[in-house]
């Protein structure tokens, strides 16, 4: 029996949301609806999380952020898209800066519509995500020594649009205080890197 569904930890990220669904997600943790009695904790660290609650739709700025959070979560993981903006773009679907709902960048297990989604609906969505998590855990237990096969790993990378195969370059030597290293910024970057980077956040693949 899988204990992972007994006390799932969630990580919450807001990608271009108006905050309505975010405060309802936080309201689930507070004494009125109180999901902490089920052992659900809102953690700030993706590496500790089981369920990714995402609100708001995707725009060009936060594509890489959402992907990085998703990649850092260990398997098995589930994603719940909270609110109609995360499901499909909502009332902002025709805006010039909106790409669409969350499923344009990462696979989603549960969609919770609403504007703003009510805490009861959010809790219902999390419970269904637990079901999905349970199935994934059972599928993982069939192969006890590896989480994914090599072919599945390549397929995962393909689906997320990342280059496959090549491992990250290992650091050749220790970096000591006082060394001059090139600072990489976090976030998306315009294609020509000759632009002055010190005043904007350029992109970097952040080594986790």
């Amino acid at each position: 029996m899988s204990y992972i569904t007994k006390s799932p930890w969630i990580i919450h990220y807001d990608g271009s949301s108006c905050n309505g669904c975010d405060i309802e997600v936080l309201a689930c943790l507070t004494p009125m609806y109180d999901v902490e009695r089920f052992g659900i904790i809102n953690t700030g660290n993706p590496k500790h999380a089981d369920i990714f609650l995402i609100t708001g739709s995707i725009n060009e700025q936060n594509v890489s952020v959402v992907k990085q959070i998703y990649e850092q979560m260990p398997e098995p993981k589930a994603v719940a898209a909270i609110g109609i903006c995360a499901t499909s773009g909502g009332v902002f679907k025709d805006c010039y800066n909106i790409m669409g709902g969350v499923d344009t960048v990462i696979p989603v297990d549960v969609y919770v519509p609403g504007c703003a989604a009510r805490p009861e609906a959010i809790i219902d969505g999390v419970v269904r995500a637990l079901g999905a998590l349970d199935e994934k855990k059972k599928a993982m237990e069939k192969r006890p020594h590896e989480t994914t096969t090599a072919a599945e790993a390549v397929a995962n990378l393909d689906r997320m649009g990342l280059p496959d195969g090549a491992p990250p370059e290992p650091l050749e030597e220790l970096v000591l205080p006082g060394d001059d290293i090139e600072v990489k910024y976090f976030g998306t970057q315009p294609d020509d890197e000759s632009a002055d980077d010190s005043k904007n956040s350029g992109s970097g693949k952040e080594e986790a």
Partner: protein, 155 residues
Amino acid sequence: MSERKDLIQDIVTIEASHLLESVSDIKSEGYRLGQACATKAEGAVEILYSFEKDETLKNFKVSIEDKDPEIHSISGIYWPAFIYENEMHDLFGITFRNLALDYGGHFFKIASETPWNPVEDRGAKPREASGKELKSAKTDKENKKDKVDKERKGK
């Protein structure tokens, strides 16, 4: 109800060359900068600056041509204006000379460039009546979706 100061609208159109002078005068009278925004008009871009003191507003409107819009920045007089001017630069393509803190077009990283004043539309009327065509475009997509759903349900 007693006096409604919020209904007093005071919008003065001034020339771009007189902008710095008028803004310096208004600063010495003790007004603070409220906001600055741009609107696309026919063949031009109109910038509206709002200043406030004692709950009354004073607005200046400047009209510049929209092919390569350029104007002097007021961030030398009011430093916080850099926020509004960077935004106008990103959305409308207006160049501000002597901007105090210049993000070089990367304040808002957006998918399309200068969406309010696209390069191909400069010199044309603003797209005010285009709502109808865009609305019907959406309905076409919805119609297609309905058709596919109906086929799937085997109706």
